[in-house]
């Protein structure tokens, strides 16, 4: 190990060290001023974000095999710095929406913030992983804090249920990933992505073992990104977990899952393209259809957003189907990244609105509780309308631009049928997203809402960003399309 190895993962090192220190410092912060913990956690995230941005544009590898310098554990490239920035920014949002919420719900404990930091460290590591062992490590590091966070509203049984459910299915999913890694190792005698790619290029691998291994890894991460039929846990966990955790999980865990899928499949398994296309095609189509159709019948806003999050995994998978086509692969990665940002901005905004209406004991979460919001809090309702339109993919929001990119990738890859399914399910989604808007503006009611400065800032900023970035998406486009994966 050299010092330069650490330099490759410096933001992660910073964040882990910071989180460990915070764990200690938190002991000395009195129970009533946990705001300091939140602030310190945010400072840590901001510092790591600054560092990640400062490193943007660099390309290096770290922790390489001295005998075979091509085989490295971690890699720093455009892809990882894009994803890293996304994770760190969502961490900041997760703290902003949690601060007042935890207090109000009587959940304020300093561990919340530390756990968020640890989970994000795992996500960062996932984005930089260049070896399947590191992928596994990152997966555990990001997941375990999330299991705890899901059960954070401990005395509430639904939160405990969410934690246990998430843990059990998460462990199950990890099992798939590990088994897949084993088979891939068996097939290629390598765990590093470059090693696998080299073995495949040299023809020294067992095709079926590799295929099964890849498929198992796909299954494992399908759990993480909540793709159908591996989505069963999502609605219950999203509903049971504290809303601020759900907001973070919906964005962070999904983005991390896709980070892993994109990097592993595009760099190590492009040769499996032809075998996997039908599988991915079916997975994407099923996810879009099931997520959107079941969402129609939801009456609880958290469950609605859970199914919406499943559906959006489907849209991203749609662009991913063409991963092995070298002409389209870079677009597949870029459009997925672009859409993840779109989804992150919109989804955090929507969760912030949900939190503004939530009462203790899980009240205030029915869609009917939104009735009359248009009159009572015009700006809040306008923001929610923007988020719903963005999730539908209507102008003038970022969601339209994002979907445009995903659909373009699908059409470019030749999957017009899949794109048709995509647009038709978008149409279905319009129905249930509009129901929220209908309730806010066209039904009478008198909702009580919370005014919390950080929360207001979150939905205000995300709503503005959703609209403004839809007209000026050039920088984001350039960044996403520059975030290409380092191929081995």
């Amino acid at each position: 190990m050299k010092l330069s190895d650490l330099n490759t993962i410096l933001p992660i090192v910073l964040l882990v060290v910071w989180a460990c220190m915070l764990l200690l410092v938190d002991l000395f912060i009195p129970r009533r001023s946990k705001g300091w913990t939140a602030l310190l956690a945010a400072v840590g995230l901001a510092a790591a974000l600054g560092l990640t941005l400062a490193y943007a544009g660099r390309e290096s590898t770290g922790f390489c095999d001295p005998n075979n310098p091509g085989n490295c554990m971690v890699v720093l490239d455009g892809f990882s710095s894009f994803q890293g920035s996304l994770f760190l920014a969502s961490g900041l949002f997760a703290i902003a929406i949690a601060y007042g919420y935890l207090k109000r719900m009587g959940l304020e404990r300093g561990e919340y913030y530390t756990l968020i930091l640890f989970s994000i460290s795992g996500m960062l590591l996932m984005a930089q992983a260049a070896d399947l062992i590191v992928v596994f490590l990152a997966l555990e590091l990001l997941s375990i804090p999330l299991y705890v966070l899901a059960a954070f509203a401990r005395p509430r049984t639904d939160s405990e249920e969410a934690g246990v459910k998430y843990f059990l299915l998460g462990a199950f999913a990890t099992g798939f990933v590990v088994y897949g890694i084993t088979l891939v190792f068996g097939a290629t005698n390598a765990t590093s992505l470059s090693g696998i790619a080299a073995a495949v290029a040299a023809g020294s691998f067992t095709k079926y073992l590799l295929l099964i291994g890849a498929a198992l890894i796909l299954v494992g991460f399908s759990f993480k990104v909540a793709a159908v039929p591996f989505h069963m846990w999502t609605p219950d966990v999203y509903q049971g977990a504290p809303s601020s955790v759900t907001g973070f999980m919906a964005v962070g865990a999904k983005a991390a899952g896709f980070a892993a899928l994109l990097r592993i499949f595009i760099t190590a398994f492009p040769s499996l393209n032809l075998d996997l296309v039908p599988v991915l095609w079916g997975l994407a189509a099923l996810t879009m259809v099931v997520g959107n159709v079941i969402a129609i019948s939801q009456t609880n806003i958290k469950r609605l957003l859970a199914y919406s999050s499943i559906a959006h995994a489907g849209y991203i998978l749609m662009a991913f189907v063409a991963f092995g086509n070298p002409a389209v692969a870079s677009d597949a990665a870029a459009s997925a990244l672009f859409y993840l940002v779109t989804y992150a901005v919109t989804s955090f905004g929507a969760w912030a609105v949900v939190i503004a209406l939530e009462k203790t004991d899980g009240k205030g979460l029915e869609i009917s509780d939104f009735a009359g919001l248009g009159r009572k809090r015009p700006l809040l309702a306008a923001a929610m309308t923007i988020f719903m339109l963005s999730l539908t993919g209507m102008p003038p929001t970022l969601g339209l631009v994002g979907k445009f990119y995903l659909f373009r990738t699908a059409v470019e890859g030749g999957f017009i049928g899949l794109a048709v399914i995509g647009v038709l399910t978008s149409l279905i989604s319009a129905y249930y997203y509009l129901r929220v808007v209908v309730t806010m503006y066209m039904r009478e009611g008198d909702p009580t809402t919370e005014h919390e400065p950080w929360l207001d800032l979150t939905w205000g900023l995300t709503a503005l960003a959703t609209v403004i970035l839809s007209f000026l998406p050039m920088a984001l486009f350039t960044w996403a399309s520059g975030a290409v994966l380092k191929l081995f």
Binding site: R408, V423, L427, T478
Partner: protein, 502 residues
């Protein structure tokens, strides 16, 4: 040309200035809000007249336009491009002309949440203008989809008893078509390498079978909007539930976005497919003409009658467009304007009496002429214009369309025009039926009903007369001297027809 002082930019985005002003006015100052919106829309109209003065009517190409690179990264080639030509200029003027009229009609009709109403209405105007002026498919799609949002709110918040159902139906129907168009747009962007409409038209070279699919995808979006039979079922609901001003704009302008779409995109971009599809489109158009007329006659609700009559009238427009000859298309474009004027006026007039009676059931009306002579006279003129009486605007458009369709090689048979002509007669039946029910015969029960509430039915007041007067002027103008209008349209139509065999 300077971007900021470009007339098209100013016309399209001036309504945003109005929105900005509205945002700073307190919600309880209703009259200030109304006047601000009216002034903003009148200024927009003024700007569009200024645009007209700069428009060279003998030039068949896009004018006053510009194209700025917008999203040109990651293999995208999207420009912020606008332009106006003979195909669109009248529709732009119609939009800016009808908007202040529609706003005037809300003066006493909209009392609830005036601020929100005015904001949505002004945003809607911007969206519609953008649709007619955009010359880049991505930009066009943004405007096209955007118009859904304010209209959805206008119906859903200020509409009638079944407003929520109608609003969602309107939204989903329209979106269903436009998402298929989205895929076609993406295909063009990827395989033709540009989203610019003029470039796509000159480039051409799309193989025939692909052209047909693209044609159908675009047609899905536009046919729903028009609406063509059998995709019309959202229209009566939306019209009946929408507030008067919403109906006026819906009938007057929004439906024209569909016919305009065929004209701007389907015909010039996919000429081979358009030629192949022409008989089928003509068939659907003729079915729409007859069906719309027949169903109109069966209605018990005045607004529903007018709504179904739109299905019939727009059938004429579609028939004219797919005649694919100069007379048909010119007639079709003029008929878009005519329909905007007469049906817009009909909805206004129905709204004016509804405001007093709160019912639109035919059965309670009758003998209103004696009580409301001015109203009756205005209604008579508008009704006659709608049924195509010579000397009024409707006749000019329908005559040109039928002439075009009769001799059309693309449609291939004069029978379509023959059957469509029967539609003209049917129009006379349902419109005279409506007029007779409301104004002639013994006094209807509604007269007493209104008296019971302490006030009698009154004739039109000055504001209402000012609201409809400009429409009447144009109805006569186009009917008696349509030449200036045809002169605006003709060169662009000639150019469009170059793509088709003569």
């Amino acid at each position: 040309m300077n971007f900021i002082t470009n007339p098209l930019i100013l016309v399209t985005f001036f309504p945003l200035v109005g929105v900005l002003a509205l945002l700073f006015i307190p919600a309880d100052k209703k009259n200030v809000l109304r006047w601000t919106t009216l002034v903003a829309s009148l200024l927009t109209f003024g700007l569009s007249i200024w645009m007209l003065t700069m428009f060279n009517k003998s030039n068949p190409d896009l004018q006053l336009g510009f194209s700025l690179p917008w999203i040109q990264v990651a293999g995208w080639n999207i420009s912020f491009a606008m332009g106006v030509d003979g195909l669109s200029i009248l529709l732009v003027l119609l939009t800016t002309f009808l908007t202040p009229i529609a706003i005037l009609s809300t003066w006493t009709a909209v009392e609830e949440r005036v601020k929100d109403f005015m904001i949505f209405f002004t945003l809607l105007e911007m969206g519609m203008l953008g649709v007619f002026l955009a010359q880049d498919l991505f930009l066009f799609y943004i405007f096209w989809e955007f118009t859904l949002v304010p209209m959805y709110f206008l119906i859903g918040i200020w509409g009638g008893p079944r407003r929520i159902y109608a609003a969602i139906k309107f939204f989903l129907y329209t979106m269903a078509g436009s998402i298929l168009m989205l895929l076609a747009i993406l295909w063009l962007g990827i395989y033709q390498g540009t989203f610019s409409v003029p470039e796509l038209i000159t480039k051409g070279g799309i193989p025939g079978n692909v052209q047909l699919w693209l044609f159908l995808a675009f047609a899905a979006a536009f046919a729903i909007k028009v609406p063509m039979w059998p995709l019309h079922s959202w229209l009566p609901d939306a019209h009946v539930e929408a507030p008067t001003a919403g109906s006026v704009i819906l009938a007057g302008v929004l439906l024209k976005m569909g016919t305009y779409g065929f004209l701007r995109f389907n015909l010039p971009m996919f000429p081979e497919a358009a030629l192949k599809a022409a008989p089928w489109m003509a068939l659907l158009a003729v079915i729409g003409i007859i069906y719309g007329a027949a169903v109109s006659y069966a209605q018990k609700d005045i607004k529903k009658l007018v709504a179904y009559s739109s299905v019939s009238h727009l059938g004429f427009v579609m028939l004219g467009l797919f005649a694919l000859n100069a007379q048909g298309i010119e007639g079709g474009i003029l008929q878009m304007i005519n329909h905007g004027l007469s049906t817009g006026a009909l909805f206004l007039l129905v709204g004016m009496v509804y405001e007093q009676t709160h019912t639109r059931e035919f059965s309670v009306y009758g003998g209103l002429w004696k009580i409301m002579p001015v109203y009756g006279a205005v209604m008579l003129i508008v009704s006659l214009s709608s049924m195509g009486l010579p000397g009024l605007n409707g006749f000019i458009g329908e005559f040109a369309i039928l002439l075009g369709a009769f001799g059309s090689k693309a449609i291939g048979s004069p029978w379509f025009a023959g059957v469509a002509a029967a539609g003209v007669i049917l129009a006379a039946v349902y419109i005279l039926y409506m007029f007779q029910k409301i104004f002639l015969g013994p006094e209807g029960s509604i007269v007493e009903e209104v008296k019971k509430h302490g006030h009698a039915l009154r004739d039109l007041n000055l504001r209402e007369i000012v609201t409809v007067a400009p429409l009447l002027v144009l109805i006569f103008w186009i009917g008696l001297y349509p030449k200036p209008f045809f002169e605006l349209i003709a060169p662009a139509v000639e150019k469009l027809l170059m793509a088709f065999p003569h």
